[in-house]
């Protein structure tokens, strides 16, 4: 049976759900309240009943539980096939996917297979009066948002930038769980994972205090880290520093990295391109230090300090040490 609905693909993280997926689910809840379309979460792989019920609390009206142990780990071939089958059967209006590496791997291929439109890395989502999904994507250096619609095919697909939306939670929420056993017997998984290494990394989108380093730090992440530690903050970097391979992309802030919600962000030596500043707009207090008094970053800061990082930061570290 088909019913018009908003689907959210729930990416697995171990035996739970990826945070980005819960953020997207929270936003889908909001879109549902506006449009009247119910929210269905799609969870692949085996999971115990308690955990499944808990996902409902994050805003779903219904869960499609793809009960198949071969889906416990991500696989392009198996996931695309399974999703394709249930989408063709149930014909959702909208399908949202978190723009994590796996999510992006899945979304592009699935959209091509379903012959439908996909908007990538959306930072705004809305449903208009006609029930059309309107996805906003930063374009051309992030100076503008292009609002994209998909009028002639279904589902309307979008991937959503991690950290963009806040999860919803209501422990009293109830919903139906429909168990589906996807038939993957005829599908060969052509990409074999030989080794998987996930570091115990910090999820930047949850960081309460963040010190973010740009080119002005000359890549001296030792100094930046020492300062961050002194104020109990996590560190983030701009894209150019991540591109130089100084630190993994899990620490990259901005439109191709993560969006922050820190209470305090201290920004060191960042010029302030809009690709970057879109990643700090939801932070509480923003303090920036840069040598250039005309730096664009100051337009996006609450407190602006014109000065030399290599003079000011060691002094700040000293002062924090004295206090402790």
């Amino acid at each position: 049976m088909t019913e018009k609905s908003i689907w959210v693909f729930l990416e697995r993280k171990g035996d739970g759900v990826e945070d980005t997926s819960l953020e997207v689910l929270g936003k889908a809840r909001e879109l549902s309240d506006k449009s009247g379309l119910p929210v269905t979460g799609v969870i692949p792989g085996t999971m115990d009943g308690g955990k499944l019920k808990k996902i409902i609390n994050y805003g779903a009206d219904k869960l499609l539980y793809l009960d198949e142990a071969n889906l416990n780990n991500y696989s392009t071939d198996l996931y695309v096939h399974s999703l394709e089958s249930i989408v063709r059967e149930k014909l959702p209006e909208i399908l949202l996917i978190g723009a994590t590496p796996y999510g992006r791997d899945l979304a592009g291929r699935l959209a091509a297979r379903l012959r439908t439109g996909l908007t990538a890395n959306a930072v705004t989502l809305d449903v208009d009066d006609n029930g059309l999904l309107v996805s906003g994507v930063p374009a051309y250096g992030g100076k503008i948002i292009a609002e994209i619609v998909c009028e002639k095919s279904r589902p309307q697909m979008a991937t959503v930038r991690p950290g963009t939306f806040k999860p919803y939670f209501n422990e009293k929420r109830n919903g139906e769980i429909e168990t589906i056993r996807p038939d993957i017997s005829g599908v060969r998984d052509r990409v074999r994972v030989r080794e998987r290494k996930i570091s115990d990394f910090l999820d930047l989108t949850k960081s309460k205090r963040t010190v973010i380093a740009g080119n002005g730090t000359r890549g001296d992440l030792g100094l930046v880290k020492e300062f961050a530690d002194s104020i109990g903050a996590d560190i983030g970097v701009t894209r150019p520093l991540a591109d130089r391979g100084l630190i993994s992309r899990d620490f990259q802030v901005g439109s191709t990295g993560y969006s922050l919600r820190s209470e305090i962000a201290v920004i060191l030596g960042v010029s302030g391109s809009e690709h970057f500043t879109s990643g700090i707009k939801d932070c509480g207090t923003v303090i920036s230090i840069d040598l250039n008094p005309k730096s664009e970053i100051f337009q996006h800061s609450d407190y602006c300090i014109v000065g030399d990082i290599f003079d000011l930061i060691p002094k700040a570290i000293e002062k924090m040490k004295v206090k402790m």
């Binding site: 503008i144 292009a146 996930i198 899990d250 209470e263 305090i264 201290v266 707009k281 206090k323």
Partner: protein
């Protein structure tokens, strides 16, 4: 080793694109173009594989005729051949028809072991093209590759996932997207550049050469459309400049941090 096909995009340098708040249009006339940075990393990867295992490196791009100069840069860097897919009918293509056009051209080139792309383009940053090309070619895909090697007929690649990486193995042929910055793209060779400019015959294929119907490409073949462009709201930050000596600045900064931390 058979052909190594590298899909490249010519993109405007983003700091030279202006938004006209009145017409709500983009002014790209002042923008210089260049080969997308991640695509240069893909090309460098292809050239290294060629040096080690042989094969021909063929660069493929879609766009107007004047993009030929950028493909000649790729030739000067060491690519063996370059094909520009150029047709008015292609204008307005979103990712879906673009992937269809590129994959149709890749089939026409034929005899390939690897199709490489950059992880995403700097102008649109969608990164969905490689997966769609792989789908149309019915090949395995490995995205966000940070290093790779070949062994027999297999590809062993390290790909970035959230919080870490995976080492994966797949059979050739396959489609791989290469992460930005994983290598240092070589400089164009001066003598090769002169040869590319004067003698090299760039192939230009139109829609007729690919045999796609008019409904499959361009705006007609696209599933998404831009409803409108919105200027990003100016920030409402306080923008208070902290003045004084270095000591005073540091003192004030720590005061602000402590105040927020104790809230």
């Amino acid at each position: 080793m058979r052909n190594i096909i590298v899909c490249t995009k010519v993109v405007p340098k983003s700091d030279a694109v202006f938004f006209d708040p009145v017409t709500k249009r983009l002014d790209r006339t002042k923008a210089e173009n260049q080969i997308n940075d991640a695509d240069k990393n893909a090309l460098e990867t292809a050239l290294k594989i060629k040096e080690k295992y042989g094969g021909k490196v063929i660069v493929l791009s879609m766009g107007p005729q004047f993009f030929d100069q950028f493909l000649k840069v790729a030739i000067a860097m060491g690519a063996d051949d370059a094909i520009l897919l150029s047709d008015r009918l292609f204008g307005g293509s979103d990712t879906f028809p673009t992937a269809l056009i590129l994959s149709t051209a890749i089939k026409k080139i034929g005899d390939y072991d690897l199709v490489l792309t950059g992880e995403e383009s700097s102008d649109a940053g969608l990164g969905q093209l490689p997966a769609q090309i792989a789908e149309f070619l019915e090949l395995p895909q490995v995205l966000f590759v940070s290093s790779l090697d070949l062994s027999e007929n297999k590809i062993i690649a390290r790909r970035t996932i959230k919080g870490g990486y995976e080492i994966v193995e797949t059979d050739m042929p396959a489609v791989l997207s290469i992460e930005l910055g994983i290598n240092q793209p070589r400089f164009p060779d001066f003598r090769r550049k002169r040869w590319a400019d004067k003698e090299f015959q760039l192939k230009v294929w139109s829609n007729g050469d690919l045999g796609l119907s008019e409904d499959e490409v361009g705006l007609k073949g696209s599933y998404t459309s831009v409803r409108r462009l919105v200027e990003i709201q100016p920030s409402t930050r306080k923008k208070i400049f902290i003045e004084g000596t270095s000591e005073e600045k540091v003192e004030k900064m720590i005061e602000i941090i402590n105040e927020r931390m104790n809230k």
